[in-house]
Symmetry: C2
Subunit: 459 residues, 2 copies
């Protein structure tokens, strides 16, 4: 499908260059704004305004919202005041807020000049909420009803107000002070048998709402748990201030999963897509953790230095260091990633620490014993028999396998404990994933290995 | 919030044990089915049927759907035929399919006996679609309209049929052969100025649909990209067979992100939640990769053995092995995770390989030079000056730092290339993440290190 799409894209660009504007317009009118926006991200700077002016008014606004900030800025700089107003008038409040957040100050000034006063005050209100809060991703455009209205009156109100609302399917019932008292869906309204039924008889009153300060990840989780189209956002006095819709929740969910994956692999989270990132951007996201982890590997180096004499006496031991370190790292990251994901899906709480440790300990013993046994066979068969390394005795193999078993158990313990502790201390558990844990586990496993070697092999 | 919820839970269980059924019922009726289901997962076996029988009929069905399979099975085994029928009658087709897929054969037989023939044939049809396809997660319950209907007739039809449909907000316009020709939203219908307007004048005809064979991840991505409430599923002849709704897409998105994270950290993906997994389950998911990676570390061991003489001549080199390996592993997994995520978000295609390699090469050189410089300073200051290790000369430091720079560049190249190649060969790119890449990079970095050491230090 992606390939077919590229062919269409190329054909459209050719039409633009050949000035076949009428045909082009006929094709564009059949396309979805998201697809048109995707095409824009591949256009060069001169073509963007040309192509944009071929869109219908409604399409233009919807496409504009889906475009990446660079193309948006380019277009706005080229817009006349009336063109800018035409686009801004069609924006929903939450999209306008996103635009304002991403544009440079002088562009923002022009945008705000073209917005009507009501929209401007809504934008300003939303901008005051902390980043990543429900307030910062909500929209103020929802349908509100009164409890005393009848079903027919409510439908009439939706018909009158609905055009400008992001969703009309869930309507919120508020009292005269904007206090949230119930909700009613358009389905309930349409399926109601009597048009004279008052809304208060129909509305659901066991409401689930969030406050404007609730974290956006929490909001997304709730929308997905309850399968709602939208979630009402209230202030400290239960007064309705906005709604968060399911499509924004989906975006939050995708972004949060990406952020977790980035943190887990030692990357600073970035807002830019990979395609748009320059090598300098990537360098900035990656070098902090690399430097930190390189420096912290000094400890592992020190441990090896401390046991240099033992190693010199039995150089064969060195060959097993990578295997021990890698298995430790893998065991630890398996445990930490499982636990981190469970925490972020809301299945695990800090209070489950003991339960998790017990479960991981059993798993670790099972894994450790299996790996140690397999490793013993491998060493005796491959290293000793096939490769003919006489210095790899059964005793050396035993030391390696004991160290391996201990490493696996320690790795799983560190791997499951650190994310939960991080959560309890209000840090992001995702930071406690493989790179961080690998460094700790490396040091522990080398210590175990050399100590065992000294004691058992008497070197 | 989670804590408050636990307090409520405990209070409800106490009421159940004290047989305060009337109060309990009054409280349960105000609760959301998802929350009630969550509470059930903490109840012991005797309490589950007791608590369930206190729910209202509608609540019972909605709660049942949200419960975990173990509790569902327990309840069904205790149900009379009429109790089972009451629950099954209220299920949407897609929920019924999920239930049938998860229950053992004898339970499935009882369920199917209680479903009406139409539902049964829908269930059977959906079950025939391949796992993870659009067909397997769709529902057959949608509102279909005819192009010749008027707006008023359409609204009347929705009122008559809507109760049993999963969503009424997007209605699909089909011809007499079920061929999909357009869609119309309830918003369009409500906002239409004239009730006599025929649907064909109102409907959107530039449709976006998927086939029943489309991968569920693709479907979820499309729903999120276009912000649709539902996506129509058609067969090879463009005949409508069902719809996939946004809430199922959200679940797919969460599951796919979890699966990617699991694969990335060397875990076999699991359907069971962490809480429900026994140590044996966890062991089964973890041991295959651990064993594979342990055995593949043999190569790294062989490389060290091959250079044993060089190492014996300059034992100080051993101390830098962990730092080299860890930095290589981290650099590689940074690149691979970034690329894997971009692929799964649909930003990167296999054809972008060269572009990616160029970008990663620049990034790698920047990271490599920075790390090598930092490492040189660290070695000269910490290892040589502070720790007084006389054998760590400037030449040794130079060898380590050159090996480090080369390792970083190789790691980033391997890390960015393998996922894209995997994608091109139709494997899941997520498998090509840290554990796998670490093993390859370890071998490469040790080879570079020892070769440089031999040449430059002449050992």
């Amino acid at each position: 499908m992606a390939e077919r799409f590229e062919i269409v894209e190329k054909a459209l660009i050719r039409m633009l260059d050949e000035k076949k504007y009428v045909t082009l317009r006929d094709i564009l009118v059949t396309m979805n704004p998201s697809d048109i926006a995707q095409m824009f991200s591949g256009l060069n700077e001169e073509r963007i305004p040309l192509m944009f002016r071929l869109l219908t008014k409604e399409q233009a606004a919807e496409t504009f919202v889906e475009m990446d900030p660079d193309a948006q800025e380019l277009l706005i700089r080229g817009f006349s005041d009336s063109e800018l107003k035409a686009v801004v008038d069609e924006l929903y409040v939450d999209d306008a807020v996103e635009l304002v957040e991403e544009m440079p100050a002088n562009v923002v000034k022009r945008i705000l000049k073209q917005t009507d006063p009501e929209m401007r005050s809504s934008i300003n209100m939303i901008l005051r909420y902390p980043e990543n809060s429900a307030g910062s991703i909500m929209t103020t455009e929802y349908v509100s009803l009164r409890p005393s209205m009848t079903v027919d009156e409510a439908i009439l109100r939706i018909r009158r107000q609905g055009v400008d609302k992001e969703t009309i399917y869930t309507c919120y019932v508020t009292d005269e002070n904007k206090g949230l008292i119930g909700l009613v869906t358009v389905k309930d309204l349409l399926l109601a048998e009597d048009g004279d039924t008052p809304i208060q008889d129909l509305m659901i009153t066991n409401l689930i709402s969030v406050t404007a300060q609730t974290d956006q990840e929490e909001v997304a989780k709730m929308l997905s748990k309850y399968n709602f189209l939208a979630l009402p956002v209230v202030d400290g006095e239960n007064r309705m201030v906005g709604i968060v819709t399911f499509d924004d929740a989906m975006d939050v969910m995708i972004d949060e999963a990406t952020e977790d994956m980035e943190l887990m692999s030692g990357l600073m989270p970035s807002e830019k897509s990979y395609i748009k990132s320059t090598p300098i951007d990537l360098f900035r996201n990656r070098i902090p953790w690399l430097l930190l982890l390189m420096v912290s590997a000094t400890f592992t180096g020190l441990i090896i230095t401390a046991f240099e004499d033992a190693l010199a006496a039995q150089v064969a031991l060195t060959a097993f260091i990578p295997m021990l370190m890698d298995t430790g790292g893998n065991s630890g990251s398996q445990a930490s990633v499982t636990v981190i994901r469970s925490i972020s899906l809301g299945e695990l709480k800090s209070s489950d620490l003991l339960k998790v440790i017990r479960k991981e300990l059993c798993t670790a013993v099972l894994c450790g014993v299996t790996l140690a046994a397999a490793c013993f066979c491998k060493i005796m068969l491959v290293d000793r028999l096939m490769m003919g390394q006489a210095e790899v005795t059964a005793l050396v193999a035993a030391v390696v396998c004991m160290a391996l078993g201990i490493t696996v158990v320690m790795a799983k313990m560190v791997g499951c404990t650190l994310p939960i502790l991080a959560k309890a201390l209000n840090f992001d558990p995702a930071v406690m994933a493989s790179p961080f844990i690998t460094t700790i586990v490396d040091a522990l496993s080398l210590l175990a290995f050399f100590t065992l070697a000294k004691v058992i092999l008497k070197i």
